[in-house]
């Protein structure tokens, strides 16, 4: 990332001036609000800033320059799948026929979107080997909640509501236990085996009549395929429990492994990972969920259905009494789903399989380039991501993974995922994805190797990094101890507006 030209900006409040702006909205009649009772009216106007359009545009263009983005450079972020976001998808989602459609419009005026959603469900079901898909959840974490709530409904319907435990490996993403808690379950964490995989024996020992579900990520959060997944799934079902797959790492196995075929009962997709929908600085995403026969009756409502005449419609509220209900308003994040649909159709079966082939090849290549300089705790063929560690570097020089990550910023890269999964000491989880060229991969490896050398020759350069970003390391302790979460006019005690 170029470091000249990005200038810190005043806040939008500091840029406003009384009397600026206007020219956007016609004036209403003077008596427009007379019929609203005075006690319901706003007495004190909201102190929103007044700006002319030029200042608004400059503010947001200049702020955007302070951001790193996929469109500016490489994100080797393990578990995030920061692949290129195709521009066709932005165009498609903005087609007025899609963008202007009201979610409560009658089915007959929404046939285009309903058809697209129905086809997307079928495509995701095919990719995952599942029987049916709901597109309703607004994000992967909400998809997880949907899956766990369906599992709970299943057990209750069978009179087994006493099952109150969910098992997760210690390498799991934090959303897994958080989701289990939201659904009223106790999380039992199972330590991983020495080779990084799920410890089948430990799982077997923990499985029992109180187990409602296990939540597994496959490939694991270490980027390793669970070769004994078949055994695990058998054990889970033998105990009367169901198996949930966290689909965050689907980019590794498209066309190679279908979770539904292998025996998973339910999984979620992260379309903002595997299917290229943009991260948007933290959202929006979408978290469709696929199910097998067992959980089919419990899918959220409304489902998208196809009639005998080939037309499409939404299920009526209450039509399917076994449904767990709704997880959010309306049918789902359709705007995001349109992008995922376009991505899948652009690739087709052969393209999707190639995505995984290239993602896995790139990860193994990068791991090969870094081995010898960084510790590679699990030194066998990985899938789309791998874990490297600076544990030895820390022991020898005191420099930590956090410092190395921050120093990468000076080399023009976004840091990889650090300190996740929790089970690796001084870990870096690196996922190149399939859309980075070999040149980029080599340059990134060279940078990491150069930084490793710096830890012995000029460690302060690393521990004091970044030096060239718009801001340096932040005082996060004060930010948490004395939170300032809302702009107030300056009282004189605060850090002043940048020049």
């Amino acid at each position: 990332m170029s470091v000249t030209g990005e200038r810190l900006q005043p806040t939008i409040f500091e840029l406003g001036r009384h009397g600026r702006g206007g020219g956007k909205i016609p004036h209403p009649p003077a008596d427009a609000l007379e019929r609203i009772p005075a006690d319901a009216r706003r007495a004190v106007p909201a102190a929103l800033p007044e700006l002319n359009e030029a200042d608004v545009v400059r503010h947001y263009v200049n702020l955007s320059q302070l951001n790193y983005a996929v469109d500016t450079g490489f994100y080797p972020l393990g578990s995030c799948t920061m692949k290129f976001n195709p521009k066709l998808n932005e165009w498609a989602a903005r087609l007025p026929g899609f963008a202007d459609l009201h979610p409560l419009a009658p089915d007959e005026v929404a046939q285009g979107t309903l058809q697209l959603l129905w086809e997307l469900e079928r495509a995701l079901a095919e990719i995952s080997g599942m029987r049916a898909v709901t597109l309703q959840p607004a994000a992967g974490a909400q998809g997880e909640l949907t899956g766990i709530l369906m599992i709970r409904a299943h057990h209750r319907a069978r009179g087994e509501g006493a099952r109150d435990e969910v098992l997760v490996p210690d390498s799991s993403h934090g959303t897994n236990p958080a989701t289990a808690s939201m659904a009223g379950y106790r999380t039992i964490t199972i330590p991983s085996a020495a080779d990084g995989g799920v410890d089948i024996d430990a799982f077997r020992a923990a499985l029992g009549p109180r187990t409602a579900a296990v939540m597994i990520t496959n490939p694991s959060t270490l980027g390793l395929f669970e070769a004994r997944i078949g055994e695990l799934l058998e054990a889970v079902h033998a105990a009367g429990a169901l198996a949930y797959m966290d689909g965050a790492n689907l980019n590794a196995i498209l066309g190679h492994f279908k979770p539904g075929e292998a025996g998973f009962d339910v999984m979620h997709f992260n379309v903002h990972k595997t299917f290229s929908t943009p991260h948007g600085g933290g959202g929006p995403g979408a978290g469709p969920v696929g199910v097998g026969d067992t959980l089919l009756p419990y899918l959220p409502e409304p489902r998208v259905l196809r009639g005998d005449d080939g037309s499409f419609h939404l299920e009526r509220t209450g039509e399917r009494s076994t449904s767990i209900g709704r997880l959010r308003s309306f049918v789902g994040n359709t705007g995001v789903l349109i992008r995922a649909y376009a991505y899948i159709r652009a690739h087709g079966a052969s393209g999707l399989r190639e995505v995984s082939d290239d993602a896995v090849l790139a990860a193994n290549y990068l791991k090969h380039r870094l081995s010898g300089t960084y510790d590679i705790p699990y030194d066998r063929a990985c899938k789309h991501e791998f874990v490297a560690s600076a544990a030895t570097i820390k022991k020898q020089t005191g420099v930590r993974t956090l410092d190395i990550a921050k120093r990468l910023i000076d080399y023009g890269y976004h840091p990889p995922t650090i300190y996740f999964p929790l089970i690796v000491d001084e870990g870096m989880l690196i996922e190149p994805t399939e859309t980075e060229s070999v040149e980029t991969l080599d340059a990134f490896a060279d940078a990491l190797i150069a930084i490793a050398a710096e830890t012995t020759t000029t460690p302060e350069l690393v521990t004091g990094a970044p030096h060239s970003a718009p801001v340096r390391r932040l005082d996060e302790a004060t930010a948490a101890r004395q939170p300032n979460l809302r702009w107030r006019p300056m009282s004189g005690a605060e850090t002043p507006c940048p020049d």
Partner: protein, 460 residues
Amino acid sequence: MPYGPHTADDRERMLGALGLTSVDQLFEDIPVALRASRLDLPDPEPELELAARLTGLAARNRTDLASFLGAGVYRHWSPPAVDQLLLRGEWYTAYTPYQPEVSQGTLQSIYEYESLLAELVDLDVVSASHYDGATATAEAALMTCRATRRERVLISRGVHPHYRETTRTYFEGGLDLEEIPLVADGEAAGTTDLAALERMLAEPGRPVAGVIAAQPDFCGLLEPMPEIGRLAHAAGALFVAVVEPVSLAVLAPPGAYGADIAAGEGQPLGIAPQYGGPYLGILAATDALVRQIPGRLVGLTSDLDGKRAFVMTMRAREQDIRRDKAASNICTNQALLALAAAIYLATVGPHGLRDVAALGAARAAELEAALAAVGVDRLHRGPYLNEFVIRVPAARAVHRRLLDAGVLAGLVLADAEPDDPSLAEGLLVCATEVTTSDEIARFARAIGAILGAPVAEVAR
């Protein structure tokens, strides 16, 4: 593969470095018995063909109707500056700002969004956003239980049915959600029944954590929010106001009438309807409740050199750190939509926002008069801002015939609220600043013509 850079040479080079001859060797750890069956998907579509097909699909939706449909999602005009700024790759292809040094754009924009919404709702803290109005409401309900350590929440039937259903899903098992009935007749018909609320709050041995009501309510009516808040607080419960952000330019905000928490849908702030999302869940609270707020919060701080900077803060509340003890599993916020809302507010400004709200009110009054002139009256009598219910015999059939005449006459309430017989003949209609007098005239003419002739109920 359409977007990947690797040529055959590139792949050969990488495989060579690994001492391999085929990428299949990297998948040998998948047991043969578990390998996937063939992926049965349509062939890859080059962009030119895909674009043509998508255009065709979009064209199968009808968006040329004179629409009076609101019910939680509203047609507003968004200045083109909003979307043009949103199309910058630095905004929409950026990751979550976990590395604040290279994410100051996103972080400052979220802090500004939080601050702008705080002004609008007149509460101390606004979160970096939730998925939508429904989940924000559900999370607000859960907050009241955590904060008071009580297990019972009362939610008015005046709150959007999707929001009530979503809250019910989040409450399943362990917590108690009850609906407060609406007044059946008279001037206050269609608003929260205060006497019933008082009785529910007084039930011995069943303390209430929170009371939730919407302003305006689902039928567009103005609710007695200060009174509802007083009753809630007298019983030791927290008060949650579900609000519509454009209306807050002209209606009293939650902070003014004692709400502890505000939830709502930010879609009206420059975000297109998009058939369901992505939208913007607004969640705000008083300072006292800040630690109970789920999801992300962005705060102001400084860097090593003393420069002002922004950072996600109080992160230990979130799922990646708290794990099974997190208040919520939420791992995202609607960052790009929060940005859109902030740009919209900055572009239209406070006067523009007020004009949007006032114009909607004016057009709605025009609509009411035009419909009354052809014999179609409101179902309720209380004041409304820009949305109301009209009473139409055989509402569903009439709605269908109006559709044929090019008018989307709002929402058939018999479908949305099947359990409320008083709404069986109701159509929920709204007007905004984009509703034209022509459209209003077309609606009135069409419905007048239809009701002039006998109508048969259409079988479902």
